[in-house]
Structures are given as C-alpha cells and as structure tokens.
C-alpha cells in the first residue's frame, strides 16, 4: 500500500513539475525586439537601401561604426524559470556551426568563439544582451579559434572574405559549461567588402548637369551587385588651357581695331565670335585631381551625389551644378549588403549649356511658345488608349444588338 502511495506521489510530481523543469531550460530570444546601437548607446538609424534586414547582416559600415568602434546588437533574452542551480548562467558564442555542444567551445579544435566577456543570469524577465559587431566578425577566418574573450578592434573589418554566415548562440550552461536545455540562436550574414569598381568611367557636360557613364567589369557580375553610386568633388582641376571663358556659354565677341582713315573715320577691323570653355570639359585630357576622390579609394564614408540602382545601370546624372565649373567624379559599386566598393578612376568634366532645338528656334527669331501651354510629359499612350477603348465599346455595343 505504501509502495503504491509513494509511486503515485512520484508520478504526480513528475506530471506536475516535470514540465516546468523542461520550460526552465529554454532560452527565449525576442527577435522582434533586436536593436542596433552605436558604441555610445545611441540608436543606429541608417537603413538598408536594398531592403535587406539590417538586424541579420553585418557590413563594413556596421563593423566600423562611429569612430571605428563598430555597432552593437542588443538582443532581448529571457529564460522561462528563474529558479535553478546557482551555477547556471547564459553565455554568448558565435560560429559557423552549432555552438551548443561543449566540444564546439573547447578542446583543440573548437569551431566557435566567445563574443561576450560577461556571463548573464538566467532571468525570467527580459534582459538586453549587447554584442559587438566586431566581436561577431573577429574570428570568422581564424583556423584556430581563441576561446578566451578579447574585445576585437576595427582591424577585423578589413577581412576580405566572401559572404559568411555566422550564428550567435545564447546558451544556458551549467557550472561545467555543459548545455542545459535549449538555447537560442540568431543567424547573421557577414560581408565586409563591396564589389569592384566599374571601368572605365567617363563624364560629359550637359546644362548644369554632368552625365557620368561607366562599363561594368566581369568581376562585378556577382550575385551581390545591387547598383552604383556616383561621387562628385567640386575641387577638380583641368589642364587650365582656358583663354577666355564664359560660364554661361554666352558667345564672346572680340573685334579687332581697324584703325582710322585720313578723315578720322573708324575703320571696321572685323569681329569674331567664339564660345570657349575650360578645356577640362568632357574629360578632354589634362590632369584631373581631387581632394576627396582617389582611384581605388574608400568610398564607404563619402556621400554620393547620385545613385543608379540595378546591376545593369550604366549612367547617372548629377544635377544642380554650375556651368563652366570643373568637377571631379568617380563611381563605386554597392552590393545587397550596402557595402560600397572602391572608387573607380577619377575623371573631370564641366557642365555646359547645349544648343537644343528650342534654343535654335528662338535664336532664329521664332515667335512660338507661350500659347495655351500645357505642362507635363508625353501622354500619347493614355490618350490613344482612351480612343481605342471608346472604339472597343462601340464595337461591343454593336455586337450586342
């Protein structure tokens, strides 16, 4: 009788409390609450231009962050039950494969590395665990992982590895570093270098605009290429062979002195009209230099003047420039991870007004224009479509009769 009573108590205890024990062994990561912060604690506000989930990727800009300290990812973590042996704690590791087994984090051939100096209590309330991007990146290429945590520096951001997948593990461990229950994991894509620059790059002057064109190289044709950014520097210098220049493009007329005749009348020496621009326009020869743009230079911290999304983009316009002024331009490619690659060759060009049809017409003395003007672009398609729709309705109504 006593035996059966004791057995009943044991069974009942397992049923009542066994499940609670299982729940207490689960680390929960609230993925919707993950944030990115700078080293100074301020929120990272930059967004992806390629609609990539910025919480699941680390690019070069993330790795460098502000003042080369890199950003941090704040992970909201909790454990189901608080009551457990005092030695239980949370550790955070990173690796390309599962870091849960002790063998992944110890021995002579570990495959994971620690990304936090601290251990964390297994709290049931949510706690924010901040992990540095540089620490996540630090040992990707290390054949032998260092099992002692040491805060990584910005030099790890120069890794030229291809796209890597690293998973951050939030492990509940006992006093001997053995895993307890189920940890949480967060997979991330790591890519720190952008695509190769296009080559060659050229620039032509339009009215208050530079049109920059380029040819993409074979090395750029990878799955990550997402588009191009164009950078401009107004400090560009051409070869300076300008004689007379008028930035507006207005013709400059020079009349020779024909002297006077015996009666004192002024003689006509003849006049010539020229339009001369700085010879650096249209990339025509000469030295082109820039204080901020250098071929092969780092474009990650520069602000682009224009963006051309898409792998097949081959040109972009930079508007709002001054006619006659010389500008240096360069192009860099960017990838789906928002990494901007190195700068292309630097070319100089000057915007200049063009002689379009309307200018020709007005210069000839044409009097049209301004009569019942209608703004907007071509709308032939919509109007012809309306006309066709009207005809289709007429045919359809006839067929019904």
């Amino acid at each position: 009788m006593r035996f059966w009573l004791a057995l009943s108590v044991v069974v009942l205890s397992v049923l009542l409390f066994g499940e609670r024990l299982a729940l207490a062994q689960t680390v929960t990561l609230q993925t919707a609450g993950i944030t990115r912060v700078n080293a100074d604690g301020s929120m990272v506000t930059t967004k992806s231009t390629t609609n990539m989930n910025v919480f699941q990727r680390t690019n070069a800009a993330d790795c460098y962050g502000l003042d080369d300290k890199g950003i941090e990812y704040a992970f909201p973590v909790s454990v189901a039950m608080e009551t457990m042996p005092a030695a239980h704690h949370i550790e955070v590791w990173a690796g390309g494969s599962d870091c849960t087994p002790l063998t992944s984090r110890s021995g002579t051939t570990p495959i994971c590395w620690p990304v936090s100096a601290s251990t964390y209590p297994p709290n049931s309330t949510v706690q924010s665990i901040r992990i540095r991007a540089q620490d996540i990146v630090s040992q990707i290429t290390n054949t032998t992982k260092t099992l002692t945590y040491s805060a990584a520096q910005s030099n790890v951001c120069t890794l030229t590895t291809a796209l890597s997948t690293v998973t951050v593990y939030f492990l509940l461990l006992d006093g001997t570093s053995n895993p307890v229950g189920t940890g949480a994991a967060w997979a991330m894509k790591i890519k720190l270098i952008g695509p190769a620059p296009p080559d060659p790059v050229d620039a032509e002057g339009l009215n208050n605009t530079l049109r920059v064109g380029w040819t993409s190289t074979n090395s750029q044709q990878d799955a990550d290429l997402a588009g191009y950014k164009v950078f401009v520097d107004s400090g560009g210098v051409g070869d300076g062979s300008t004689t007379t220049a008028d930035a507006s493009g207005t013709p400059v007329t020079t009349c020779a002195d024909g002297g006077t005749d015996d009666a004192g009348n002024v003689l006509d020496g003849g006049c010539t009209t020229t339009i001369v621009y700085d010879a650096s326009s249209n990339g025509g020869g000469g030295t082109c230099s820039s204080a901020t743009l250098t071929s092969g230079g780092n474009a990650a911290k520069l602000t682009e003047a224009a963006t051309a999304p898409g792998k097949t983009a081959t040109s972009a316009n930079i508007d709002g420039l001054s006619n006659g002024s010389s500008y240096a331009v360069a192009v860099a490619a960017y990838d789906a991870y928002d990494n901007v690659g190195a700068l292309s060759n630097v070319v100089c060009a000057s915007p200049e007004p063009i002689q379009d049809f309307w200018t020709n017409y007005k210069n000839a003395g044409g009097g049209a224009g301004g009569f019942c003007t209608i703004e907007g672009g071509p709308f032939s398609g919509s109007a012809i479509g309306l006309g066709l729709a009207f005809v289709a309705i007429a045919i359809a109504r006839r067929r019904k009769r």
Partner: protein, 251 residues
Amino acid sequence: MRKAFFVSSLLAGMIGVTSVASAQDEIVLRGRKKYDSPQRFALEFRFAPYWPNIDSEFSGGARPYHDTFGDRPWARLLAAIEFDWQALRIPHVGTLGPGLAIGYTNMSAPALKMDGTCCSAANTNLEIFPFTGIAVFRVDGFMRDLGIPIVPYAKAGIDVAIWRTWNDGSGTSVAGGIKGNGLSVGPHLAAGVALQLNVFDKGAARQLDEATGINNTYLYFEGMWSGLGEAGGKMLRVGTTTWVVGLALEF
C-alpha cells in the same frame, strides 16, 4: 411636269437619306447580300511620314528644325487612329459624317554643343500630339452598286495639336524665358482612295461580318495637308503636307 417630277423625286431621294438605323438592314444592292450587318462607323489606322513646317516661319533662310533634326522625314512617323461616324447615307453615292482622329509623333536628335559642334551627350526632343475633327465624305457607290472595290474619299476639318520640346534628363526646354510647349491650331484637308479587301476573299469577309460586324476592310492611300500653326503668332507651325497609308474598317 416631267422635269418637276424628276427634280422632286431627286430631292425626295436626297432628303430621304436615312440614318443608318434600320433602313440599311433592308438594303439590297447589286453585289451585296442581305446578311450584311448594319454599317455605321469606320475606323482607320493611320501611318505617315511627318515633317513639320516649322522652318516655313523663317523667310531669311534659317532652318532650326532642319539643323536640329536633319533632313529625313521618313524617320519621323506619325501614328494615328481615326474614328468616323457615317451619319448620313446618300443612296447610290456614299456616306457623309464626322470623324475624330488622335495621333502622335516625336523627333529626337543629339543636341549640339554651344559652340555649334556635335554633339552633346543629351538628345533634344520634340513631340507633337495632333487631334483632328473632320467631316468625311466617302464615295462607296462604285463599290456597292458596280462591284468596283474602290472608294475615293475626301476630308475637311480642324487640327489641334499639343507640342512640347525637351532635352534628355531635363524638363520642358526654356529659351529666353519662354517655355517650349504649347498648342497649335489649323485647318485639315485630305483626299484619298481606299481599296476594298473583301473582294479577295468574300467568304472570309462574310465570316468576319458575322463574327464581328465588320462589313468592309480597306487599304488606303491618302494625301493630307495640315495647317497647324500656319496662322502664326505664338503657334508653332507643326503642320505638314504628307501622304498617309493605313488600314480601315467599316462596321
């Protein structure tokens, strides 16, 4: 008496022209079968080389249009669609009624640099969007009564065109503070001849009529004059004298 009777009969015949509501359903003429569906409308698909008369504004030899877009009218195509209502049928003669056409053409060429040399990186463009309201007189008596598949016709009306000029990467061009867009109005005259295609396959033509109500199909050739902007002033002379070819349907 006879003369009076003849004249009155002729007048009665002309006055008695009917709209194409139900009377045409009963028309039986030589070469036509009773199965023909009513015929009220015509639809034309129109294609023409377009060379606007912009340079005609200048008597001193300036040719800004020619200098910009060159001398290849064949490269500039006007595509248009015209819808006619054959409101009146004059027995044994033809049809008379209003029509409306919508068309589009554009020209594009590399702009010159300010020193006049070629070429800038940007193209300069001109687009013309003509609307036409016309009266159309088609003489299909030869076809309907004599079986000759030729239908001469004439048109007269008014053209209204919206036009705009701009450069690649920029909005509407501006020169001297005046924008390069506007409206031009002018007369429209045309005459042409259409070849009925039903004669080449009467069976197919009959099936087409039964299935879609299309009575006749034509290929046509037309000479056209558009006086858009010829009145001058602020209107750009975007009219032209040209020939038109296309496909026409009557239904």
